[in-house]
Symmetry: C2
Subunit: 344 residues, 2 copies
């Protein structure tokens, strides 16, 4: 018997199955089931952001499970809230799915949304529609708890540039899947079957593919950075060079990044086996790869960086380079610098 689809079950029954999978959230006053939800906003300001994931643009159904897609949809929105210096409180989810979609896929999406949400964040509402392709539009809300929002535009010459989270993992995982290579199982990575090199590659591939499917954003770093005096901050979703350029442009400054080997030595080491196996360049993943959802922030030179952040460069004044420029090890990098959603 084929697995039941949404068409078999119908909308109301599907929602009845879905609701219990979703996190309730500690700030939820009224959750799913009415025209709208009601969520605490203790600060009397609310931070709000929305991001959509579209099948065959942001994910492929053969590369990512429903759970993976739900996880990523949650994390990329939560990261945007954190990047303002706020604590996420809740999500609403608009889901477009073909009627032929298995019910289990949608249940997986619900579990993934739950998995991507830290303790206390609720999925408080949503909408479900038929459509030719899957699309998941998530809106996240957050609370500033008295903090000023940290914008992209406050970086000043002399500030330290710092980053929290991993770099290049998602791009490496994507490259592996795009090359059609199989993802090794846990046994290959950790068992006794393969040789040391084989196990190291398997572990690196699993790390990268997991980084692509279920990125982890250092969400607590956002409010911590705000408290530490961050002058500018953003979520690195479209690649470090491109997003650093946005910060530089908004702030009217130049961002000078340290050599990747210094700034991202750990990520380069972790991804080196994958890069070797694919004949690819791990530095390109680290500098230009998107969707790791780390936080890029600038701090006054004398600030103590909060836990999770490490120095990756310094802010300069325009002069030799125009405002908005990003240099790496003293030079303007050539090659692709990120992702335009329409021009690739």
């Amino acid at each position: 018997m084929p697995a039941p689809t949404i068409a078999d079950l119908g909308e109301d029954a599907l929602l009845t199955r879905l609701f219990p999978l979703l996190p309730a959230g500690s700030g939820t006053l009224l959750g799913p089931g009415d025209d709208a939800a009601v969520v605490r906003a203790p600060d009397a300001r609310v931070v709000v952001t929305t991001d959509v994931l579209v099948e065959d643009r942001h994910f492929r159904l053969d590369w990512s499970s429903g759970e993976d897609v739900g996880w990523r949809a949650a994390v990329q929105n939560l990261a945007d809230v954190a990047a303002m210096g706020a604590v996420p409180t809740s999500l609403v989810v608009a889901l477009v799915v073909p009627a032929t979609t298995p019910v289990a896929w949608v249940e997986g999406l619900g579990r993934g949304l739950a998995g991507g949400c830290p303790e206390g964040v609720g999925v408080v509402g949503g909408d479900l529609s038929g459509g030719e392709h899957v699309a998941v539009a998530v809106t996240a809300l957050g609370d500033l708890a008295g903090r000023a929002p940290v914008r992209r535009s406050g970086a000043r010459p002399g500030d330290v540039v710092a980053h929290a989270g991993v770099r290049g993992h998602s791009a490496a995982g994507y490259a592996w899947l795009a090359a059609g290579r199989p993802v090794p199982d846990a046994e290959t990575a950790d068992g006794e079957g393969a040789d040391a090199e084989g196990r190291a590659l398997a572990r690196a591939v699993r790390l990268a593919v997991r980084g692509y499917r279920r990125p982890v954003s250092p969400l607590v770093g956002g409010p911590a950075a705000a408290d530490a005096g961050a002058t500018a901050m953003l979520d690195v979703s479209d690649g470090l060079l491109r997003d650093a350029g946005r910060l530089a442009r908004a702030s009217g400054v130049v961002v000078h990044l340290d050599p990747p080997a210094d700034a991202f030595g750990e990520d380069l080491a972790a991804l080196a086996p994958v890069a070797r196996a694919l004949g690819a360049d791990a530095e390109a993943w680290v500098l230009a790869g998107g969707e790791d959802h780390g936080l890029l922030a600038t701090f006054p030179a004398d600030a103590s960086l909060p836990a999770g952040f490490r120095r990756i460069g310094v802010v300069g004044a325009p002069g030799e380079w125009t405002a908005g420029t990003v240099t790496v090890a003293g030079r303007v990098p050539s090659g692709p610098v990120g992702w335009d959603h329409f021009r690739g």
Copy 2:
């Protein structure tokens, strides 16, 4: 020269054109352009809802302009906020569009979002993605200003059932377009060219098609109903019978609707020429037609109905009929009662 498309312009340039078209909103502390927006939530609770419009499910590009789609996407979300008894404050918009979409269509969408928003509501953020089909996911926020949210579940036997807004217009407009009939121009409706009957039909068709393309929800009625003591309320988006059934089920009551000629005489009269021309039943539009975004509410029997609401029935206790039943003129109606997004 063909009209420029999104692919010609690119994402950043498109956003630069789009932002000035969007309303800023009186509660907006930080608008589009950063990772997230910041909006006032003076009540320290925020009302949040999301709804998605999908091409060829909720609109057709040959029946609705970008402006129409933006308008409807705004209104249907704002109505959900109002139906909780809240005042809408802001929207965020996730837009999926093929790269071949004309820039002018997206600009129209921006103007439509603005047109559908009452004074004071801002479009504070969004996301833009490529995709095979157009989809517009809007999330609306609102402020309760100290009111308790009005849920679906509070109706009590003896309450008056009341409705604000029009009924059946959107369904009639849809039926006209679905029949492939041309929409008369303003000259035909108001000029001297046609006979009286032709002018009346033209005016009725234009009213209905406008109701389909750009519904008007009685948004101020939401908070007014809450203030008048409404015991339950919802936005009628899937048809009166279906949504009244939801209210009845959530409240554990029976909803007895007055005969349509009494409850919706004005709407029936306004749509009569369209129904005659199509050989259709205006009562079915009024009772089962969706997407007018009127407000359905129940009030204590001794309450003064707020402006815009009129009595359309009474709440009964389960007994002869089970809880969740909706009767019309004392009988349970047969035939289609609304819309399931996957089973039609």
